[in-house]
Amino acid sequence: MWQQVHSALSQSAHRVLFKLASFLPGLLALLVAVIVLALVGAALAAMLRRILVSAKFDERMARNSTDALSDWSPSGSPTLLVARIVFWACVILGFIIGISAFDASSNGSQISTFLLPYLTHSVGAIVLLILGNLIARFLERSVLIGAVNARLQYARFLSLGIKWLVLVLTAAMVLDHLEIGGAIVELAFGILFGGIVLTLALAVGLGSREMVSRSLEKNVERTDPGAATEPPAASEPLRHF
């Protein structure tokens, strides 16, 4: 009896040690692949940054008035943006190579066939999330400033509505991309999105009816020739230019 228990325990320990021994090289290969590719990425990014700085890439982009690229760049520098994209692309490549190596070293395991598609989906979801947040913030400010300059009293409400519309849309896209929630996400998104749009429409259409008509009347007045002038308060109008 005791011998049988001892034999079973030693066989289990042997199997565990065997699995560990076959698992560790794969893990090591994954780590090495990630570290090496990260180092390669850092070197490439540094080299690229140096080349772009010497080529005055930022100045050229600024001169060509491509504000969009600069606005999305860290510290307003397109050079830094390009360098970081290269670095993170290398890191992701390292992960992909590492997982493949891990898969090859562990016999019979199909981790890569499960992990690789999910990894690429996760990267896509992260990119979507970042872009969605940036676009939401950009549109929020655009609408807020535009509405304030158009003298709409409900400017903040409008900008918040736009911001949450984009954020809800982004969240739904991210969850859909990760295949989480299935039909529930679609349903919830439809309800939320429709709800926000309906709320905005009701608020603007009914609650602020008079304000909208006043704003429109002012806009019509402003489309007169010599539009850069204030409405004539006295006999002589103001001329800003």
Partner: protein, 404 residues
């Protein structure tokens, strides 16, 4: 080396050839009646000198114009075209220089839209500044009413004067006298914009001249009908001009951080005053609405001290509404810095400046309505910009330093 393509019509080349060394007057497209008036003014301004008149429509609608013997029409095909006519653009400078090069003129007069309202004396004075004296750039100084050219008075003039030590009252004047080398410099600057398909881009001749260490003369041209922008609203125009000026400030930082002293300016008329108080309520409403909504965005650009000043201003009653000159100077400087640092999107930045500008206009009108001569307030404002220039230089060099 490839030669510059000729853009003057063949029929006019013979005329141009016999008038080498003359003054070239570059006119915008003018309707028939205005064109005749302009030719008469030129004839009165230059009774004996030979003058070349370059215009893209020298004979509008195919009609023939009777010109005195010393006035020669030089019709040309523009090398670049611009859709903006209320201000001089890159296309205008390039066309003028090409015209001057091909007619071998000795100096140029570049006149803007509605130039038929200029007096012959004013035209002559502008020309004399670049032909008779050592000036490379003659800038017109207009006699505007107290409610005109407010954006120029609020930002363009004080900022140009403080940073570049140029005292021209209208840095974006649309009537200029140019020496050949000045025209060449402006054409070179224009070419950069035109090559990127931006023929409507604004140039800053005073800043170009100051950076090249060229002499600038200011010429009092008296009253003149100033063309107004056609359809764009205040926000768009303010963003267009403000953006161009801030970009120029950014590009010329190495120059203006060293610039000291100032050129002498013409004496100013401090007697003109407002006869009646305009309605400032819409402007104050715009400011109050913006204060309630844009505070978060302003706080990204302005230091706490300026925000405190705006807070005080937001609770000030309309009849005593007064934005201190120092506060306005700080606001403009901080926005220029934020433009350079791209603290927020540049379109948003200039949009957020509009209500603050309207607050300054309201304050200016209240002040002048209370008896202060408008020109005195503008000169005081320009002095405040000059006094605060070290602040901008310091923040430009060390933007991350603590700034209360």
């Amino acid at each position: 080396m490839a030669s510059i393509p000729t853009h003057i019509d063949a029929a006019a080349q013979q005329t141009a050839a016999i008038t080498t060394g003359s003054l070239l007057v570059s006119l915008p497209p003018l309707p028939d009646g205005s064109f005749d008036t302009m030719l008469a003014s030129l004839a009165a301004a230059f009774p004996t000198e030979t003058v070349l008149v370059a215009t893209p429509a020298a004979a509008p609608n195919g009609t023939t114009h009777a010109t005195p013997g010393n006035i020669h029409l030089v019709p040309y095909t523009p090398a670049a075209t611009s859709t903006t006519n209320w201000v001089l653009t890159a296309a205008d400078y390039l066309n003028t220089f090409k015209g001057a090069g091909e007619t071998q003129a000795s100096a140029c007069l570049l006149l803007g839209a509605e130039c038929q309202s200029l007096t012959p004396e004013a035209i002559r004075a502008l020309a004399a500044s670049v032909t008779g004296s050592n000036a490379d750039l003659a800038v017109a100084r207009y006699n505007l009413g107290p409610r005109e050219g407010l954006f120029n008075s609020a930002i363009l003039y004080p900022l140009t004067r403080a940073l570049f030590c140029v005292r021209s009252r209208y840095p974006l004047a649309i009537d200029l006298g140019l020496s050949l080398r000045m025209a060449e410099r402006l054409a070179a600057a224009s070419q950069k914009f035109i090559s990127t398909n931006q023929s409507d881009a604004l140039l800053w001749p005073c800043i170009e001249a100051a950076c090249a260490n060229y002499a600038i003369a200011e010429v009092d041209v008296g009253s003149r009908v100033l063309p107004q922008p056609a359809a764009a609203d205040l926000n768009t125009l303010l963003a267009q001009i403000g953006s161009s000026l801030f970009a120029e400030v950014d590009a010329r930082a190495a120059f203006w951080q060293r610039a000291r002293g100032a050129q002498p300016s013409l004496s100013v008329d401090l007697s003109a005053a407002l006869t009646e108080s305009p309605d400032i309520a819409p402007m104050l409403d715009a400011f109050h609405l913006a204060y309630a909504n844009l505070h978060e965005i302003w706080s990204l650009v302005l230091p706490p001290n300026s925000l405190l000043g705006l807070k005080r201003l937001s609770v000030t009653p309309a009849n005593s509404f007064n934005m201190p000159d120092g506060l306005w100077a700080r606001i403009v400087y901080d926005f220029a810095l934020a433009y350079r640092l791209r603290t927020i999107n540049r379109g948003h930045l200039l949009g957020a400046l509009t209500p603050l500008y309207l607050a300054w206009v309201a304050s200016h009108l209240v002040l002048t309505g209370n008896g202060t001569p408008p020109e005195k307030h503008i000169q005081d404002l320009a002095s405040a910009f000059e006094a605060d220039k070290p602040y901008l230089v310091s923040r430009w060099r060390w933007p991350d330093r603590f700034n209360p």
